[in-house]
């Protein structure tokens, strides 16, 4: 830290420089102002290293959650063995996947295992399941098994796990579930599966996404209104802490919020508003903060091409969350204060373009550099053909992995932790980002918190407006996207890429998934004990009306009896009502 005198001398020198060097140059090129900036110590006047940065692995975690991640510990060994890590590394959940019926997905998982995959299932559910409908609902037409696997019942769930037995049983491998509105039902199925297999539920690991608030803001697969949705969240939180203590409770994220058009500041503020609401739910349920906050994870925040800003974002996010946990919620355990997320900075899928798709690889490398420089795996994401809507080809996955490897082993991006710490520029940018996000978060808290800011439409509308703002800036060439609104035309080459599509998902399966699922539903209804189903649903309905009752035990009984996902969700629809769409 510079002394006051030093700062004054520097400030004076800066004024002199502006007069002697900068302004003449601006004038020479007939500009209104300089297109670049230069930062001096005066930009970070009050910078206190220990207060603002500290050390990786210690409060306030600005520099990172630890001095090095586990992947870095084994990176050289992995390179020598030619390990092909799926996200998260071995022993964790495998590649995000899911399609067709449970049988189709199970067979796919077995195929992946025969090719060397060792992770647990990282399950994508179809939209029908995500919205709490069965495959025979009128809403299901055209959607069954499309963006994920169709799960209508506990039976389907069990079929998926036929791929995980023996040394891959559910006490050995974790499961990820990208499920939100009916997360409680899927968690119930997971617990019921353990019971059926004679495995202690306390052994179950993994992460349900279980982040309903962002659905109202950005992703759209909600069922019930916000308040009863928070009741269900509380039920999962309390139940998991007691019975499935190794299961992460939620995977919160600004990722979808940013992808829906939010600005960087909105991403951070809205994510934390949601996170605060979830934390408060635990506190209100009588739990000790350090008892459950360590089991909160973050899915990812959003990203953009602005590399410096995304690095600052991650630093600000870590510091802000740590402060919220310690000062607002009184956490004492370091693990409560850390943001646990599989990836850090990235460019976001909305930064990729359909035009000249190979450019997306260059773009994703920028994201990898950013993430390597802010405490994460230098992950290059997404694969270049992401926007084509055809799935990721084998080439794009290979190039993505190689780019990540190049950043780790050749560029050695991650060998220095938080390399920007102390930079006048980066510290001031981090402070600015944090201050702006805090102001927005305060605004939401003044409204009554995330639920209030959803009910009054504030957060969803803010995101829609930001999305529109961005579109206008692109159409007016205030923002540039290469190949989209600039550098097009006759002198440019529309470079295309040869793709060999990854035939992992059988198109024939997807085409017949709906009819096969309908047949299975009919069979289930014939074979199950109707009375047990009705009794279970009746008990669920009665308890749902009493806010104090935890519905997880009832949900477990319902799924075991063979009640379908929609039957269960419809009972809750009857009691809670359905969420209203947000007006623009």
């Amino acid at each position: 830290m510079k002394s006051q005198d030093d700062l004054e001398r520097i400030a004076c020198a800066e004024e002199q420089w502006k007069h002697d060097v900068l302004e003449p140059r601006v004038k020479r090129f007939q500009l209104e102002k300089s297109p670049t900036r230069f930062y001096t110590p005066t930009a970070a006047r009050d910078f206190d290293f220990l207060e603002k940065v500290g050390f990786p692995g210690q409060y306030p975690f600005t520099a990172g959650n630890n001095p090095f991640d586990f992947w870095r510990a084994y990176a050289e060994a992995g390179a020598k063995m030619g390990v092909r890590p799926e996200y998260g590394g071995s022993g964790a959940a495998g590649r995000y996947s899911g399609y067709g019926t449970a049988e189709d997905y199970r067979d796919y998982l077995l195929r992946m295992q025969s090719l060397g995959s060792r992770g647990g299932p990282n399950v994508a559910f179809d939209l029908v399941t995500q919205c709490g409908y069965d495959s025979d609902s009128p809403f299901a037409a055209g959607e069954v098994g499309r963006v994920g696997v169709a799960v209508d019942s506990f039976r389907d769930f069990q079929v998926i796990y036929e791929a995980f037995t023996g040394d891959r049983d559910i006490d050995r491998v974790p499961s990820n579930f990208t499920i939100n509105a009916p997360a409680a039902v899927i968690i119930a199925m997971y617990a019921a599966l353990a019971e059926k297999r004679g495995i202690a539920p306390a052994q179950l690991r993994g992460t349900p996404q279980n982040d309903i608030l962002k659905e109202f803001i950005a992703r759209g697969t909600y069922i019930y209104p916000p308040r009863p949705s928070m009741r269900l969240f509380r039920d999962t939180l309390v139940f998991c802490r007691k019975h499935l203590p190794k299961l992460n409770v939620t995977s919160i994220g600004g990722y979808h919020i940013r992808e829906a058009g939010a600005t960087r500041v909105q991403d951070l503020a809205f994510s934390f508003a949601n996170g605060v609401a979830y934390l408060q739910a635990g506190v209100d349920a009588g739990l000790d903060i350090d008892d459950f906050a360590p089991m909160f994870t973050f899915n990812a925040f959003g990203g953009s091409m602005e590399i410096y800003h995304e690095i600052a974002f991650q630093r600000a996010a870590r510091r802000m969350w740590a402060r919220i946990l310690r000062e607002r919620f009184g956490a004492k355990d370091a693990r409560s204060m850390m943001i646990r997320q599989p990836i850090t900075a990235h460019i976001g899928c909305t930064s990729t373009t359909l035009q000249r798709p190979l450019n997306n690889l260059a773009r994703a490398v920028v994201g990898g550099i950013a993430s390597g420089m802010c405490g994460g795996l230098p992950a290059v994401y997404p694969p270049f053909d992401e926007p084509l809507g055809l799935g990721h080809s084998l080439e794009s996955i290979q190039l993505q992995m190689d780019a990540t490897r190049i950043l780790i082993f050749e560029a050695k991006v991650a060998d220095v932790v938080d390399p920007w710490a102390g930079s006048y520029f980066m510290e001031s940018l981090t402070d600015e980002t944090e201050a702006a996000a805090q102001a927005e978060l305060d605004k939401i808290e003044a409204m009554g918190g995330a639920v209030a800011a959803i009910e009054n439409g504030y957060m969803p509308r803010a995101v829609a407006k930001s999305a529109y703002e961005r579109q206008r800036r692109i159409e007016n060439q205030e923002d540039f996207m290469v190949g989209v609104n600039c550098f097009m035309g006759d002198n440019e080459l529309e470079v295309s890429a040869q793709r060999m599509v990854d035939e992992l998902y059988d198109a024939a399966h997807m085409a017949t998934a709906e009819e096969r699922q309908l047949a299975k539903l009919a069979q289930l209804r014939r074979e199950r004990n109707g009375k047990a189903v009705a009794d279970g649903l009746a008990a669920l309905e009665a308890h749902a009306k009493d806010e104090a009752v935890n519905l997880m035990p009832d949900l477990i009984e319902c799924v075991k009896s063979g009640a379908t996902l929609q039957e269960i969700c419809d009972v809750l629809r009857g009691v809670f009502g359905e969420a209203e769409p947000v007006k623009l």
Partner: protein, 134 residues
Amino acid sequence: MNSERKIRVLVAKPGLDGHDRGARVVAYGLRDAGFEVIYTGLRQTPEQIATAAVQEDVDVIGLSVLSGAHLALTRKVIEQLRQQGAADIPILVGGLIPESDKPALKEMGVAGVFTAGTPISSIAAFIRSHVASM
């Protein structure tokens, strides 16, 4: 054409796909282009879309789908429009539409497919010229 005549557009998301960034941006953009935009939001059934198109007497229907179900859903919407005697209302489709599916959509009778990166001004111009020629 009467100077008061406004072009009316229906913007709808059929199916369960909840990613409405594109639909919202197009809705705002077409409003700013001077159109009256009937925005019906998420989870529209084909019947709701066709009924709205008829009741609102829209000049064009815009469908946005990012779940990959665009062929099935567009087909169903067209069928409903036919049933309601409104098969003449042109349909535009946007979202995550692979290049290879565009011919199939055109063959169904879709008037235009607008995917990522299309300026809203192009969509507005397309609609205006389509309406003028009717």
